[in-house]
């Protein structure tokens, strides 16, 4: 965490700078099937973040050395568009995006029924078009909806959510300022039906009690986002009201 310390992130009345309550999430909107070229796709707008995920496959895995005899491999690329941040980022992979890609792939492998597709590959492309803290979580949520949209069998969806700590107070879903000047961030990928956790990272400083409260917030938010995910898929496949 940045931890510059003396930036005020909570108002006198205890509410956050953008007016949210401590356990209030930024608004989340999801649309499934937005990219005609892809086998499955989704766009997640989480606050000011915009994450798009495309799924291609299952397809033949090559080069052959990446093939697994008993299951599919999931090839994830998390990428931030050059114009997604305040200062332009140079195109191409960096250490941060490689790490996020790796742990996201491992999280998705934990829910996709990869054993159904031996020797094949499922490509998941996560593109961040606008970044204001919380892009890895928005990316995971988008990837899960895109996989479902592609008709790939999964044990459960995954919901990406994060809680953190600002001014010694645990809050749900850090925005950009809270992320920059806060004290901790705890992004997780939650399986909404089983209550299991497939993605976990954390940095900063949290006491055991603060961790428990942050996790409680995360589970509450996961439930809310899950409803939005299901709604997006239903609108796509059941011709519900748009």
């Amino acid at each position: 965490m940045g931890g510059y310390g003396d930036v005020q992130l909570l108002r006198e009345d205890g509410s956050r700078l953008d007016g949210r309550k401590l356990d209030e999430m930024r608004p989340v909107k999801i649309e499934a099937g937005i990219l005609p070229a892809a086998d499955g796709s989704a766009m997640v707008t989480h606050g000011l973040n915009v994450a798009v995920a495309a799924v291609y496959g299952p397809m033949e895995a090559h080069p052959r050395k990446i093939q697994r005899q008993d299951r599919a491999v999931i090839d994830v690329r998390y990428n931030m568009a050059p114009f997604s941040t305040s200062d332009r980022i140079r195109p191409g992979f960096n250490r941060r995006s490689r790490e996020i890609s790796k742990v996201t792939a491992e999280a998705l492998e934990s829910v996709v029924l990869v054993e159904r597709y031996p020797r094949s590959k499922i490509r998941v492309e996560i593109e961040i078009l606008a970044a204001e803290a919380g892009t890895r979580c928005a990316g995971i949520t988008a990837a899960a909806v895109a996989l479902a949209d592609a008709g790939i069998p999964m044990r459960d969806l995954i919901v990406g959510v994060a809680s953190g700590k600002i001014e010694d107070t645990v809050v749900l879903d850090l925005d950009k300022a809270e992320d920059n000047y806060g004290q901790a961030d705890l992004p997780v990928g939650i399986l909404p039906n089983t209550g299991e956790i497939a993605f976990l990272q954390m940095d900063g400083d949290l006491s055991p009690d603060e961790y428990n409260l942050a996790m409680e917030y995360n589970f509450k938010a996961a439930k809310e986002i899950h409803e939005v995910m299901v709604d997006a898929l239903q609108r796509r496949y059941q011709g519900g009201d748009v």
Binding site: A37, V50, R77, P91
Partner: protein, 261 residues
């Protein structure tokens, strides 16, 4: 497989051409549905989303302060980059920029740069010391044909709605980027032996060479590019040049409408 499909497709495109028809039922010079939306990305100083049929492209404009080139102390700079990342389609592979994406960004860049729509002198803050670098990044999210026109349209629309973030860099007040004209690209692909406008993915797959024409407000040429294997006659060019004049007017009006002019 990659060879077999185009050969069948080529036969079909040739048959359709004889009847002056197209795979998706369009007329030879007819475009697919086009949508344009600007100011759609929070962190970009100018942004645009373009859809042409199933093709989806985003463009974002960013600014940076830099020192001018020693031989041009009063001029800022413009850079246009296009990324063909694997998100855009099954055929795209991860890796360093492909020759195809480099061609795409350079053709878009030339059309905008050579039209002179951005006065490089207007990007000067302190001669010899501080100028603006304008960077347009184009992101193709879904390629279902004719990404060149979609990228060209997104780039100019993003530029024309861009705001120079002078306050954030502590060099004056935020102001609109000055863009004096609207260069527009129109692309034609030979499918079934004759040129068609706004080629679909199938027409590109089973087609031959493509020609990209960028025209300014007065109908003057600002960039031309012939891509892929194939030859064409001056008479064929004359025909598509005439069509390009009409097609560019349509897209320029779309940009003006989005800007609210």
């Amino acid at each position: 497989m990659p060879e077999l499909v185009p050969s069948l497709l080529r036969q079909e495109l040739a048959r359709l051409a004889e009847e002056d028809a197209r795979l998706d039922g369009r007329g030879r010079w007819e475009a697919r549905e086009i949508t344009l939306e600007t100011d759609c990305l929070y962190n970009a100083e100018g942004s645009a989303k373009v859809t042409m049929g199933g093709t989806i492209v985003y463009a974002g404009v960013k600014f940076e302060l830099r020192t001018p080139w020693p031989d041009r102390p009063t001029q800022g700079s413009l850079m246009c980059g296009a990324e063909l990342r694997p998100v855009a389609g099954r055929k795209y592979e991860p890796g360093p920029p492909s020759p195809q994406s480099i061609e795409l960004s350079r053709v878009v860049d030339r059309g905008i740069r050579e039209s002179g729509c951005i006065d490089m002198e207007s990007l000067c803050i302190v001669p010899g010391e501080k100028v603006w670098g304008v960077m347009i990044d184009i992101h193709v999210l879904s390629d279902q044909g004719n990404i060149f026109d979609a990228c060209g349209l997104a780039a100019i629309a993003a530029l024309r709605t861009a705001v120079v973030p002078a306050e954030r860099f502590d060099v004056g007040e935020d102001h609109k980027l000055q863009v004096s004209s609207t260069p527009i690209m129109a692309s034609y692909t030979r499918a079934g032996g004759r040129f068609v406008y706004d080629p679909s993915e199938e027409e590109e797959l089973g087609g031959d060479e493509r020609i990209h024409i960028t025209l300014g407000d007065e109908g003057h040429l600002h960039s031309l590019q012939k891509g892929l294997k194939g030859v064409f006659t001056p008479a064929e060019f004359a025909e598509i040049f005439d069509e390009a004049q009409k097609h560019c007017v349509v897209l320029r009006k779309l940009v003006a409408k989005e800007e609210g002019n």
